[in-house]
Amino acid sequence: MAEMDPGTLVTIVTIIIAGLGMVIGAIAPALAEGRAVVKALESIARQPDSAGDLRTTLLIAMALLESTAIYVLLVVLILLFANPLLDRFF
């Protein structure tokens, strides 16, 4: 363990952080989107006439919420496939 080559250490830490980051980064937007959908469904149940208007607003809001998960995904992809830190060791 003490003899570990720094490149291997960086790879291991990168893989663990990628999995962990993606998990945490997916939980928060999922909860937020769930809240948005619940509110929208409640308002549609209360006022069915406003369903068309709510649907477009809901889709746009969901896209904006989901983009936080996409940012995490992008960082994870960069860490896994184009890690800038590995170039220092190899």
């Binding site: 006439d49 068309g52 477009t56 746009i60 996409i70 995904l73 992008l74």
Partner: protein
């Protein structure tokens, strides 16, 4: 797994041409061919598409769709076809290369200011950007960050779908990736809808609010509630 990433196919005068660019040429040829064919055979189908896009823009921007239909309609068609064409063998989605979404988002970024200047005039538009002068930095930051988020959202969705399909294909070929490929058609079309809707929202946010139309709408809402009250009684 390596097939997911874009590769350089050939170089023209020192400029590398990737396979995503080639498949976007194929895509443009396909769209133009379909439009020319249907104009001869069945013009009503094309009219339905244009009507759908015009209704969509009118619903989101709450103003006449005519000045915005050419830009937002072609953005929606391009992104929609580009997301779906990755399922064709030997072709790769142009949007799974980060350069294409960035180019599309820059088009939207420029279009916001072009429409603002064209509709309000140069002086009033600049003034509306800095209406209280201390909000100008925030406005500039939001202009830049929305461009980045627009491009990364499209790229992330399409690219992650392709990576998931590639991983499943390496693990269990042929049958298991099929439902996810069907799902990727759905998400691709939804992303095209969202891209066009956000472009419309950003362009509409740069324009002055319409007084007459909102007034008319409030009146019709009042009428409806009055009618409901009468019905209840």
């Amino acid at each position: 797994m390596q097939e997911v990433f874009p590769e350089v196919v050939f170089t023209v005068m020192g400029i590398p041409v990737r396979d995503t660019v080639v498949s976007s040429w194929v895509m443009v040829a396909l769209i133009v061919g379909i439009v020319l064919l249907f104009r001869q055979l069945k013009p009503t189908a094309l009219e339905m598409v244009v009507d759908f896009l015009a209704d969509f823009i009118r619903e989101i921007m709450r103003r006449p769709a005519d000045p915005f239909l050419p830009l937002i309609g072609s953005l929606a068609l391009y992104v929609g076809v580009a997301n779906v064409i990755g399922l064709v063998p030997f072709l790769k989605s142009p949007t799974s290369d980060i350069n294409t979404p960035i180019a599309l988002a820059l088009v939207v970024f420029v279009a916001v200011h072009v429409y603002g200047v064209r509709i309000m005039g140069f002086g009033p538009y600049i003034k509306s950007l800095a209406s209280p002068i201390f909000l100008l930095p925030l406005e500039l930051i939001s202009q830049v960050s929305r461009t980045i988020s627009l491009s990364i959202r499209l790229f992330g969705n399409v690219f992650s779908a392709e990576i998931i399909i590639a991983i499943l294909f390496a693990l269990a070929p042929l049958i298991v990736p099929l439902p996810l490929q069907g799902f990727s058609i759905f998400t691709g079309l939804l992303q095209a809808y969202i891209f066009a809707a956000l472009a419309a929202v950003y362009i509409a946010a740069g324009l002055p609010a319409r007084q007459e139309e909102s007034g008319v709408e409030a009146d019709s809402d009042n009428l409806e509630t009055i009618e409901q009250l009468i019905e209840k009684e």
